[in-house]
Amino acid sequence: MRPRTRRGRALARSGQATLGLWFVLPLVPLLLWAAARRWSYPDVLPSSWGPEGFVAALHDGAGPAFASSLVLGLLTAGLAVPAGAMAAHALAVDPPPAARTITVLLLAPVFVPPFVVVMGLNVVLLRAHVPPLFGIALILMVTAIPYTTFVMRSAYAGYDRAIEDEARTLGADPRSVLLHVRMPLLAKPLSAAALLAFLVGWSDYIVTLVVGGGQVVTVPLKVASAASGTGNDAVLAALSVAALAPPLLLLLVVGLLARPARAPRSAQTVPTAPAELGLTGAN
C-alpha cells in the first residue's frame, strides 16, 4: 500500500534509499579492489587501475572452478526443483495423512548444519561410485528441497486448478496441461525456486570440501583459498565479483519474469451486436 501523505512518501523513499545503500556499499570496496592494479595505504582510491586481479584469478584456475560451480548450481536446481514442486503439489492440492509432520520433516534440513550429516556420506558415495559433482549435488538437494518446496507450496496455494479443468475440456490431455498450462502459469515461482536451489549449490563450501575431497574445486573453495593467504586482495576481489555475476543475472531474469502485465491506457468499447461473419459452416 502506498503512503498517502507527502511525509509518508518521503519516509518511504528514504527508507528505500537506505536499504539500497545497505546492499550496495559493501560491494564498493570489492569492485575497487577487483579493478585495482595498485592500492596502497593511506590512498583513498587505488593509485592505478588494471585487470590484473582477474588475470591472476584465471591463471589460478578460476575458469574451471567457475564451470564446476555453475554445473553444481544447475545440478542442485535440476534435482531440487522437480522434487520440491512435486512435494508442494502433494501438500497443497491433495494433502496426505500427517501432512503437518511431513511439512516439518521437509523443513528439517534447514535446521541441521550440512556438515553434521555429510560426514560418512562421502564414504557411501565413494563406494557407490557416484561421480563427485553429482554426489555433492545429491546432498545439496536435501538442503535445497525445503526452499523449493515452500516456494512452490505458496504458489500452488494461489493456483486455480479450475483453469486446468478448462484446458481439459478444450482438448488438452494431462501432459499438454502440464506443458502448456501449469508450467507456464507457475513459471515465476518455478524460476524463484530454481534461483534459490542454484544459490545453495553455487555458494556451498563444506559439502564440496568434504565430499569432493579436493577433486572438485568450485568458486567458494577458490575464494576461501585466496582469503586464507596474504597479498591476494585483487585476486580475492576478482573471484568474489565473478561469484556475484550468475546469481545477479538470475535475479534479474526472475525479476523480469515477475513483472506484472501492463494495463492498457484506456479500455476499448465493445459493440453489442455481432456482425455476420460467414461462420455458418461450423456445424
Binding site: R168, T169, L170, R262, P274, L277, L279
Partner: protein
C-alpha cells in the same frame, strides 16, 4: 459438429455427504437446442455439468453424445467445451492464442489455429483485442473471449456454467443477445447451468428445474409457468400464492369458498393447493363484481416498476402485483380478481403435509382424528420444514 446429448440416471454422492449431490438425472438436449438446468445455489447443477464434461466420475448413469457413450472417455476426448462463471483465460497467452488453444491441442498448426480463432473472435466483436493479454481485459470482454474460445473448439455440446452471473445486468443483457445471435449462426447444442430464471427463459428452448439434486420438471417455458409439476417448481419459479383446500369436481373448496377451476383430465378429488401467480391477480374495488376475494392490504413493497401488495384474506396472505402509478395504501380494503386461466391446482408434495392438515381443518371446522395425527407428526417436523424453506 453438434450432436444430441443424452444423460440417463446420472448420480453422484460425495464422500462424507449425507445426500446425493445429483440423484439420477435424466436429460436430453437435442442437437442444436439449448436446455437450461435451472436451480438454486447448491442444487447440484454444476456437479451435473462436471459429470457430463468428464471432470468428475459419476457413481452410476450414462452420458451419450450422438448415441455413443462417452462415460469412459477423458474430458479432452468427449468433444465438449465449457464456459464457466469465471472466464478462466490462460493469462500467459494472448487473446487470440486463448481462442486458438483448442485447435492447437487438436494438432492444428499455429497459423491455421490462429486463422480460425480470429473468425470466432470477430464473432464476439473482439477482433481488435486479439493481441492483448487477458489481464488487460474488462470482465465483459474476458467473458466474450471465453465464449469465443468455447465456440472455437467446435464442440458437439457446449456447456455453459453460470457464464454471465458475475457480470452486471447491462453486460449480461449484451451477452444474452450475443448468445442468441451465436445460436442463430452456429446452432450449437448448449447445456446452460444457471440460477437466473430470466437467463434461462431468455436463452433456453426448455428448462430443467433441479432442486436438491432432483430433477423436478423439464419442460418448455409456457408449460413450466402454466402447469408446474409440483409446489416446489411453482415456488422456485417465484409463485407466492398458495391456497390450501380440497379439490371437488371442477371447484376448489377453501376458506375462500368454492372457486371454480379449469377442468384437468385425470386429476382426482382430494386435498390440493390452488395457486394463482401474483402477477395474474387483478386488484379491484372491494365491491367490484370481478372480486373473488376481499382483503385488507397489509404491506406494500416496491419492486422496481411494479409494486407487490400483501393482502390479508380469510385464506391467509395473498400477493398481487400492481403496475407503477396505482397507489394503494396499507389498510385499504381491496378486492382480488383471480382469473380462471391463472387458477392452477398443484399437487401437494410430501413435504407439504401441513397444508393438507390446514385444508382439512378449514373444510370440517375442527380437526378430525386423521388431521390430529397428521398435525402431531407435523409439529415434530415443523422446525425443520421452516428452516428448509428459509
Amino acid at each position: 459438429m453438434t450432436a444430441t446429448l443424452h444423460v440417463t440416471g446420472l448420480r453422484k454422492q460425495y464422500t462424507g455427504s449425507a445426500a446425493a449431490a445429483i440423484a439420477g438425472l435424466d436429460l436430453t438436449v437435442s442437437s442444436g437446442s439449448c436446455v437450461a438446468l435451472l436451480g438454486p445455489s447448491g442444487s447440484g447443477k454444476t456437479t451435473a455439468l462436471r459429470l457430463i464434461a468428464g471432470l468428475d466420475a459419476p457413481d452410476c448413469g450414462d452420458v451419450r453424445i450422438g448415441g455413443v457413450s462417452v462415460l469412459q472417455l477423458p474430458p479432452e476426448r468427449r468433444g465438449m467445451a465449457m464456459v464457466s462463471q469465471r472466464p478462466l483465460l490462460f493469462p500467459h497467452l494472448t487473446v487470440l492464442d486463448n481462442v486458438a488453444f483448442a485447435a492447437r491441442m487438436a494438432g492444428a498448426s499455429r497459423r491455421a489455429a490462429r486463422s480460425a480463432a480470429s473468425r470466432y473472435l470477430e464473432l464476439v466483436q473482439l477482433g481488435a483485442l486479439a493481441q492483448r493479454r487477458p489481464a488487460t481485459l474488462s470482465g465483459g470482454q474476458a467473458q466474450r473471449v471465453a465464449l469465443a474460445r468455447g465456440l472455437a473448439a467446435e464442440p458437439s455440446v457446449l456447456l455453459l456454467d453460470e457464464p454471465f452471473s458475475a457480470l452486471d445486468p447491462s453486460l449480461r443483457t449484451d451477452m444474452h443477445q450475443l448468445v442468441m445471435e451465436v445460436r442463430a449462426i452456429l446452432e450449437p447444442t448448449i447445456l446452460l447451468v444457471t440460477h437466473d430464471q430470466l437467463e434461462a427463459t431468455t436463452l433456453a428452448d426448455s428448462i430443467a428445474i433441479v432442486v436438491e439434486g432432483q430433477l423436478l420438471q423439464h419442460a418448455g417455458q409456457q408449460e413450466l409457468f402454466g402447469s408446474p409439476a409440483s409446489l416446489e417448481v411453482y415456488r422456485f419459479l417465484g409463485g407466492l400464492n398458495e391456497i390450501p383446500g380440497v379439490l371437488v369436481g371442477a371447484g376448489h373448496r377453501s376458506a375462500l369458498g368454492v372457486l371454480p377451476t379449469p377442468r384437468m383430465a385425470g386429476r382426482p378429488d382430494g386435498p390440493a393447493v390452488l395457486t394463482v401467480r401474483q402477477e395474474s391477480i387483478g386488484v379491484v374495488a372491494a365491491d367490484d363484481e370481478d372480486a373473488d376475494v376481499v382483503g385488507v392490504v397489509a404491506r406494500v413493497t416496491p419492486r422496481g416498476p411494479r409494486t407487490l401488495l400483501e393482502v390479508t384474506t380469510k385464506a391467509g396472505p395473498l400477493f398481487a402485483e400492481l403496475p407503477a402509478g396505482r397507489g394503494v395504501g396499507v389498510g385499504a380494503v381491496v378486492g382480488l380478481a383471480l382469473p380462471m386461466s391463472a387458477r392452477l391446482v398443484v399437487p401437494e408434495s410430501g413435504g407439504r403435509r401441513r397444508d393438507r392438515v390446514a385444508a382439512a381443518q378449514i373444510i370440517d371446522g375442527s380437526p378430525s382424528r386423521e388431521t390430529q395425527v397428521l398435525a402431531g407428526a407435523d409439529r415434530a417436523s415443523e422446525h425443520s420444514s421452516i428452516r428448509d424453506r428459509s
